[in-house]
Amino acid sequence: MPGIDECLLEAMRLPGARGAALVDWTSGLALGTVGEFPGGDHEAAAAEAAEVARLTAEQRAFTPGDHDDGSGEEAADPPVEDLIISNRDSYHVLRFVPTSFDSSVFLHVWLARSDGNLALARIRLGEMAGRLVLG
């Protein structure tokens, strides 16, 4: 089963991948990074992505209808699967990673828009997130 680095290197094999990171959205800490990141500062990029991920995960509007949102106090999985941000020259895909232990991590992949493929990236990142934390 892959470790963090293997998982990030696999993400870098996606078409158009510029950078990949595993980030904790509570603290904004990057647990691992590969490749480059906007502005050249992967710590700042991780902190900013974490802020967006945290906000998304906490909004009731983005929670699926059948999600256990508090009647049972331990909602195990993050309510959101992934988050896609696009701009003129690139895509960012943030994939939440459900774990059996308590954590708050997501995979963040930065793709060049010219050769990035969002549909493929979504599917692959979902598979990678599953493999990364297989107990």
Binding site: T26, L31, G70, T99
Partner: protein
Amino acid sequence: MTVVGTTPPPRLPVRDKAAGRHRAGGEVSPMLTRLAAERATGVLERERGTLYLTEGRVAHAESPLAPGLDVLLLTHGTLDAGAWREAVEQADEEHGAARLLLGAGRIGQGALEVCHLGALYDAAYFALAPSSTPGRFRYGTGHPFGALRPVAVDALERETLRRRALLHRLWPDPLPDTAPLLRAEPVAAPGLTARQRAVLARVDGVRTASDIARALGRHAFATLVDVRRLAAAGLLTAQFPPPVPQPPPGLTLPRVNDPDITLLKRLRDALEAL
């Protein structure tokens, strides 16, 4: 209309926060920096936690204020207690418990790395907190758990300072981090996340944030984030520190721990932080 020019009132004295932050940003622990430079291996004991160094990098960290890896892995059933005990008992210098768990297929590499790194940064946050006593370093071997993904000292110090700043931004009073917590009746309660509700449900006037983290099998820092946000929302307060014991008769000391002064100081800090 006549406008009368007056001299503006003098600026209120405000402590120079930028300078303070700059000082704090220099070095969290000069001793740790030195040990990293000489690529030392051993155990650094500080007031609120312990760091295990392997060739100048931090391989493991423990703090009585942060739940250990065992709590995180066992509370939610990621590992069963028997498998954990077995790995810890069989661990020796050559094969740390981490290698044994991975070798036996008890847990995946990715899951163990994510959980261990989380626990390491979590405990290091407390271990690197400002302390009143000097740290002690014993040269020797690493932790029996074994090095999984050792972290560079400067990265760990930067992250610790960032976490301190993050908590300060949420709610500038550090008292709820360590004191027993009490529920408060808010004037207008905001919507809470499921995680915050779980924390609030365990606030009983006795438990501290660390106790709640351990009970929930969560990282202590993540719990501090929830606690400070709940404090900012007015849903909980920290119990004031217990009164200082009376000085022996015949000796008069200035009373510096006056609750009114403490309250005023907290108010000032909160206002400055706005």
